[in-house]
Symmetry: C2
Subunit: 200 residues, 2 copies
DNA sequence: GGGCTAGTGCAACTCGGGTTGCGTTAGATA
DNA sequence: TATCTAACGCAACCCGAGTTGCACTAGCCC
């Protein structure tokens, strides 16, 4: 898949790419991943569908490109000075990210896309690895403060904290509220304190 | 959606339904949910595609029917006499269920299908609610033995134990091994012991 | 065993996502 | 400003999933 916009970075090419990306996000929000068609994205972007097919190849390509864009965006990592509050803020952020009427539908569509396709799955993997790394300081700071045992794996704590939310949202399809997010954070905290995530 | 085979339970109708169900599972295992087409299932079942369309309506209907069938099947709940071992057996069972070369592809396809479609999502919800209920005795026995505080919510413990596996398998797409399954079980155990899942 | 009907097989059709070949436009270079 | 070419627009096309109308078969009931 040719990464779009490498040969002729200025002018129309760049405008087309931006318009298509915006249209992809808007279509994902409106119709979800299953309702995403190249034709609709092209029409929304004011571009012909053959252009989109040539540069992004398929709907998967559109999603991968949009996810790559999202990976690069900055992301607020909580830093309250206390691990419990940090983890709760983190899980709350995840929950809001998927339930917020504005951002939720597109975020949901990304996860759905990742579950299906190898290319989008790889993009989602990269995206979440980046997020895990960005969130790691929450844990390392806690270790430094003596809240957690030395050697605690930050990634494990973060994954354990957010996993129940994803599970309820996308697998078991149970309702999720703020209390669930807090409980998930508290569970990760308790497990981490008990030394469950201390590596070798 | 008309539940197949209610009016004429015997003979050809029942044979067709069984053949289509088997074919659906086989096709899911071979080509995944995205590669599942009504035509292929019909051909594999030795049945005309219009028959499948009339009785199951769509690929989603096929998956829902197969999931309903799976919900009814018995399922071995570990009972070792110790909570840690029970939870580890549980998470191990989940992991094997998705990574086993025989059963894994179809199980994976079910989760992927549930992420996409409302009908299959509802079927998956029912399926997992049944599984949570079946697994609840693991926790209630531990409470009775005094391993966990009174009032511990069994569903929370089970969800917390299995959620990291689903997260790695279907969301972040990270490799998962037996050690991860054990850690997930241990984390749920530590959180439960700390009283995180005690409900008011 | 002879009607009755739900369920099935069949073939032709619809329809929309995706493809292809070619002419045109717009941005880069000098 | 002249030129060159990557990128785009356009229309026609392909293809296969899903639909429809009708004939037929196999279970059910007397």
């Amino acid at each position: 898949m040719p990464r779009p916009g490498t040969a002729r970075p200025g002018g129309r090419t760049a405008r087309t790419r931006a318009a298509v990306r915006d249209a992809t996000l808007a279509e994902l929000a409106d119709h979800g991943y299953d309702g995403l068609t190249v034709e609709a994205v092209a029409a929304r972007a004011g571009v012909h569908k053959t252009t989109v097919y040539r540069r992004w190849e398929s709907v998967e390509g559109l999603v991968v490109d949009a996810l790559d864009l999202a990976s690069g965006e900055p992301w607020p990592v909580p830093d309250t000075g206390e691990l419990r509050a940090d983890l709760r803020a983190l899980t709350r952020e995840v929950l809001v990210g998927f339930t917020d009427p504005a951002a939720g539908p597109a975020a949901t569509a990304f996860v759905v896309a990742a579950a299906r396709n190898a290319a989008t799955a790889a993009a989602m993997h990269d995206y979440l690895v980046a997020r895990h790394e960005q969130a790691a300081p929450i844990v390392t700071r806690a270790v430094d403060r003596g809240e957690l045992p030395t050697g605690t794996d930050p990634g494990d704590v973060v994954r354990t904290a957010v996993a129940p939310l994803y599970y309820r949202l996308f697998v078991s399809r149970e309702p999720v509220d703020a209390a669930d997010a807090e409980r998930a954070a508290d569970a990760a905290l308790a497990a981490a304190r008990a030394g469950t995530f201390v590596r070798g």
